[in-house]
Symmetry: C2
Subunit: 481 residues, 2 copies
């Protein structure tokens, strides 16, 4: 499968609707769609936005081949007018997005698409797929990296990833959100995410003895000698053999070992034993690498119990976000323009209050305390609304409007940046290094109470008075019985 | 990302080991690796093999570009001899695999690779990635399709899939294992998996009223009118409007509606109400489609409570295998050949008994009862061992060897088929239709006790006496204390 096939990676209903919109004469009506999510994975305090670069790649690559048109014609469902439209398809939408690496919260638009109904509807599936997955992995990686409290975390999950894209782009998202690198060579080659790796158990088994295997590895990689010491028995075989190899191969070359890796057993216990033995043998600079079904909860427990680990290799539980493998982002119609260009808000009602959408063409402002530079709240506004930071600003809970809070001494930053103007990309994706640094700074700007793994403080995401009034008036109108 | 980039989708350690094997003069040593898994997802009784066609595509596409070589040279870790080897890389391995759609069990080889160490090691990451993911989804889809008890199940999960490959190949695997189709257009175009879909809530919102939206849809798709009836209120608005649209648009054309879809609320309750109203309105042939966070457990409960549903649309819980999103397949060295071509078995010991590997170059036979044609047991043998079905065969548990069972009146089928001979593919992947039919027949050949969602009967996977003896002798030799 190739990137140029992604145009057809869409839900069938996007095509039936597009054809219907065109035939009904409303295909070129200007509409606004928002992508947002309703709850943070793992019950955390915030998610970390990712996947924008791949969303841009997809949007830039939108085109229908003759083969695509033939396939669709074969369905006997679509008008020739529509197939002609697809043949000449040119993306014309405006797109705004929150930049990758930004902490984001439920209910606020992460992506807004404005354009002809036929187009803005069509891109739903791939926008959701791309942002949902990478945001989920970035969110998980950020939790795991925080659990490691400054120690390096490597993403090691390719073999258990849900497909090749997940392996490559999951590793990218994990790096942006705080991992130190990956085992995935292609992610390094494509994006410069540092790739690392040394040996599997099969390396050890290919030699007549564990010691021979270790010495061979040290000979080949004297500057990068990390030995996997659990093929037979960590304390009785692996560790003593590793020290022998360090002494016999590296020492005469004047080289120092990088580390030993433990991939099974009670790693907390083994790491403490290994640390003591390595220190006694004069290798206090030799790191200890732990892998084997780790995640934020296990890493936290290991460190509480005093594990002596310098680098965590995290596999399946990161690359699949195993404890919460679905990011439920949705893409909803927020407004349409009438013939004169007036924006008519649209709302989706639901008996489930959390599923009611917020209408209108919107912007999101993050308010930071001027003294501490910590984020106080996000305010969703009409797109052209400004927040005057020279005046006190009154926040209020959109559900419980009597909960009010007056903020002063703050500055406000808009989160949605324009990335497409009339179908042309106007945004340059930063490198993963820049995004990683940006993410780290933005997470630093959140209060610690938001960073708890369980029961974090709930961050305020409020509506401006104007937007709240529009939404509330619409809700009143729609109320049945 | 494109298929021709997949050669570099590998763990970095595959490359450090390959380079090391070459430099140590053991790169061309012939080795045997097995891919197998240790436990069935969701605690089920069996998994369903899938992903072979994509594994073949990957193996056929193995080649290193100049860019790949330059990237690797830049690491300053690899010998020029190795980089030369990669430049002229030609895949030379023999590969055996269990065909897609086959029920498979823990501990038995699903894929065996025989070839030069440098190559057989290198392909580990992508073989695992490909087979793990599709097998996991096929296994989940088979459970969900069985829960639906003959009703159609459509795979609707693209927007929540873990990346684009997961969306496309997950939909393929789901179809093989029993789903009736997908929402994913690209999977239909590439593999002929029937794609379906009608409208989102946004279609309804784009018109002045729900009724107008329904009538417009029926006008556009008189032969495929399925209406989404929960945008406002299913019973008070959606269903009456759907019936009006059927009466006013379809009836005059002599057309019948296909269905109504419910995507929220208490679907069991709503489906019963809808059924009664549709029947009373003369639309007893109009189907009811249910979607919204379904899986095998919810479908089972809905049907127990008498839900009137004809088609289930299953999204995120299928495409991510949400309740068990990791398939833990591994790839382990099983044997090496000496200079004279003798096969030397290799074993990986672990304190965790379940993690001890089974050595040797192997075959797997499935024994079927001649009378019922039901599968009795799988027997792992040496590759060239034959099972003589004309004689009684004694099965025994490899752990508890006193558990013995004598079988008579059976026939035996080898499961591992050769798919590559000296690097050339010698297997033609069947169409998804053929695989789906094959899978259905193979699952029919399992006892019902294996098909329980929880606590299924444990299927026998035994070792032949010869293989057991080799393994046991090796275990005795390795035992340290």
């Amino acid at each position: 499968m190739n990137t140029d096939e992604l145009t057809m990676l869409t839900d069938f209903y996007e095509i039936t609707m597009a054809n219907g919109f065109l035939n009904e004469g409303i295909g070129d009506r200007i509409v606004y769609f928002d992508m947002f999510f309703r709850s943070v994975p793992d019950g955390g305090g915030y998610a970390v936005m990712a996947g924008v670069e791949q969303m841009i790649e997809y949007l830039n690559g939108l085109r229908f081949t003759d083969g695509d048109i033939e396939y669709l014609r074969g369905k006997n469902m679509f008008s020739e007018k529509f197939l002609d439209y697809l043949r000449g398809f040119e993306f014309e939408c405006d797109v705004w997005s929150v930049p990758e690496g930004t902490p984001v919260f439920p209910g606020e638009p992460l992506v807004t698409v404005r354009g002809p109904a036929i187009q803005a509807q069509f891109v739903e599936t791939m926008i959701l797929l791309t942002i949902n997955f990478q945001t989920m992995i970035a969110t998980k990686a950020n939790r795991i990296a925080r659990a490691a409290e400054g120690r390096a975390v490597m993403e090691f999950g390719a073999r258990r990833a849900q497909g090749a894209y997940a392996a490559v782009y999951g590793a990218r998202a994990a790096y942006i959100a705080g991992c130190s690198g990956t085992s995935n060579v292609l992610t390094d080659k494509k994006y410069g995410v540092p790739a690392l790796g040394t040996m599997a158990h099969s390396w050890v088994q290919m030699f007549d003895s564990e010691l021979e295997a270790f010495k061979a590895y040290a000979r080949n990689y004297p500057d990068d000698t990390t030995l996997l010491i659990d093929t037979y028995n960590v304390l009785r075989s692996g560790l003593p053999n590793a020290i022998l190899a360090f002494n016999e191969v590296l020492k005469p070359m004047g080289k120092r070992p990088k580390g030993v890796r433990i991939d099974s057993g009670d790693i907390t216990y083994l790491s403490k034993k290994c640390r003591a033995v390595l220190d006694a043998a004069g290798y206090s600079d030799c790191g200890i690498v732990a892998s084997n079904s780790l995640d934020e909860y296990i890493i936290r427990d290991m460190l509480i119990q005093g594990a002596k680990i310098d680098l965590f290799g995290v596999g399946e539980r990161l690359i699949t976000s195993r404890s919460n493998p679905v990011m439920g982002g949705v893409y909803k119609l927020a407004a349409v323009e009438d013939e004169s260009g007036n924006i008519i808000p649209k709302i989706k009602i639901s008996e489930n209050v959390a599923k009611i959408t917020t209408p209108c063409f919107k912007q999101v402002y993050r308010l930071f305390d001027s003294g501490t530079s910590k984020a106080i709240a996000d305010v969703i506004t009409l797109h052209d609304e400004k927040i005057d930071a020279s005046q006190p600003y009154e926040l209020f809970d959109p559900e419980f409007t009597w909960k009010r809070k007056r903020v002063e001494g703050f500055f406000a930053r808009p989160l949605l940046k324009r990335i497409f103007r009339k179908g042309k990309c106007v945004y340059e994706s930063p490198s993963v290094e820049v995004l990683r640094e940006y993410c780290s700074m933005q997470v630093d700007g959140l209060w610690e109470e938001l960073k708890r793994f369980e029961n974090p403080h709930k961050y305020y995401v409020d509506l401006s008075e104007k937007l709240w009034t529009i939404k509330n008036d619409m809700l009143r109108t729609y109320t049945v019985d």
